[in-house]
Symmetry: none
Subunit: 188 residues, 4 copies
């Protein structure tokens, strides 16, 4: 369970935002699920929108940390890419709701305008690894942002498809084949 009421609110909100979307999730439901009074939400967060933004920041931060750690634990650029893709699968599995919320947030703007990057985003990690691989000549030259789009996009969709049961092969294999496919995209 959550250590503090504040955390309980964040957890409840995360689940509900993912389940029904930010604007369809009501403060009443969030409070109820968090085991607190509705008004108490507003002691901890300015508004529902601010709660959503805060949550996005937290989730993106946790995700990014996982990616950074994964990349740090591998040596060659190709191994780093593999580690990143595996880390995406692992994060999506360990923190299902957080992962979904990050994806969701790309498609639904919050009430008070789009999210301004207050911190480096998860995807930046990919760009750096690709760039360094190209510099060392082990990856073919591609716009690092385009490479990021490819790998992040294919991995995210593979995760989503796997989750919804559309892919028949065992999960372990899905991960490894996706890792191999991602590296294939960058090989000279």
């Amino acid at each position: 369970m959550a250590a503090t009421k504040r955390e309980a609110i964040l957890e409840a909100a995360l689940d509900l935002f993912v389940e029904k979307g930010v604007s369809a999730a009501t403060t009443r439901e969030i409070a109820e699920k968090a085991g607190t009074a509705e008004g108490n939400l507003y002691r901890h967060f300015e508004s529902k929108d601010s709660l959503a933004r805060h949550l996005f920041g937290e989730c993106a931060g946790r995700f990014r940390k996982r990616l950074v750690d994964a990349a740090a634990g591998a040596s060659s650029p190709a191994e780093k890419i593999g580690a990143l893709v595996r880390a995406m699968f692992a994060f999506a599995s360990d923190e299902e709701a957080a992962f979904s919320f990050i994806i969701l947030s790309h498609h639904t703007e919050f009430a008070s305008g789009p999210i301004r990057n207050p911190q480096p985003l998860p995807r930046d990690v990919f760009g750096e690894v690709i760039r360094s691989g190209i510099d060392r000549g082990v990856f073919r030259p591609v716009d690092p942002n385009l490479g990021t789009a490819w790998i992040v996009g294919m991995t995210q969709r593979a995760i989503t498809f796997a989750r919804s049961g559309r892919i028949e092969c065992p999960k372990e294999e899905t991960v490894e084949r996706t890792v191999e496919a991602a590296i294939r995209l960058l090989e000279p």
Copy 2:
């Protein structure tokens, strides 16, 4: 402009749903943007939710038609894959809002539960092409759904990144490099 009021409503709703999400777009805004009275929405559609579902069906149908036509116009499986990726880019560019709405609909459920497949979905087209390529031995063996996930995911993200200006190379090149990358994923 829209030929009929009904079309005007569909157009206005599409724009607003994409801009702020289905539940955050109000019927009042939709009516205003469509240049009609709020109550008139209910002469054409049962409810806001039904309007959204109808819209999804229309957009997905148009998208699927583009993909089917594209695949039909190419002969080899590899050419078909290339044609499909190009068609995704083209559709995203011609029907910006429709494309965004399709993507968005994957992440936000409508009020009355998830969308039930009333018709074949765009992604099914990819699966069939991949399957036939594998059968003919020109693609390596992969779960066709996994292959679909990869290609649809990478292409969609490339489109999104390109739209938001994060990719520097010219649009034409982004398309062709993505086509080539998609085929690379399936080559033996």
Copy 3:
């Protein structure tokens, strides 16, 4: 009764604002008293505060009209002052709530800051009459605004005292003695 719902809302709000103050009167009470749904308030006015401001404008306008008409109907400055004082008593008696609301509004700021003069205020009428009396030599020289303060203040208080039953002499006499006292203040 009120001809339209909008007027019914204005009337109900006026009574309640005077009775309990703007911030203590609730939109629910207002709607109930106006015989309409709470939400309908917001079709006619942006917010409770905007309703209060609008009401102030209306009441002040009606009051001012009464004063202007009264002054126009008298010839000499002293008669004009007498007519103005009598008009204040008459307005307070005919439109009890409106008069009270004007007074109240001087002491309680609306939520969104003080009222900016969007139109000439009732008190301006006094200033002009006093100024012209001084110019013609029938009034002694005083700052016209100070003279206005005196007469408006004494009259308003006399009305309030009379209303609350603190003054024993008959109403008619209260009015005439106040008229005479006001003129006395300005005589050379």
Copy 4:
């Protein structure tokens, strides 16, 4: 600064009640401005309403004392009236918020009904002076309450106008002219 927390609360509440009205000032704001915790308000006062009533009692008491002292320091009725008017100006200037709060309280009822006179009110002082002046034949016969209404009303308005910068002549002169005008009202 305030010597005790209790006084700090009273001071903060007074300022806020005057600024936005009793019901619009929140306990949170009051506590914050007083530099204490919200809950602490309830150690010193039963409720917000009780705090407001207490404050009214205090302010009215201080005001009354100033008036009583002023009247006591003058000998003839006319001099007493002059002293009273000067004392009103002085009090309004020394204790700006307290004066405003007294005025405000005439127009806005507290939550639990109107203020019951628990003590003689400031205005009573005027009544007595006027009565005694009439008895001694130095004032013309008027209902003493009506006379009070005139003088209190004109003085209060003069103060309000002067405060808001609408009167051009120097403050000292405003006071003396108002004193002279008040006496004029009562002269035979």
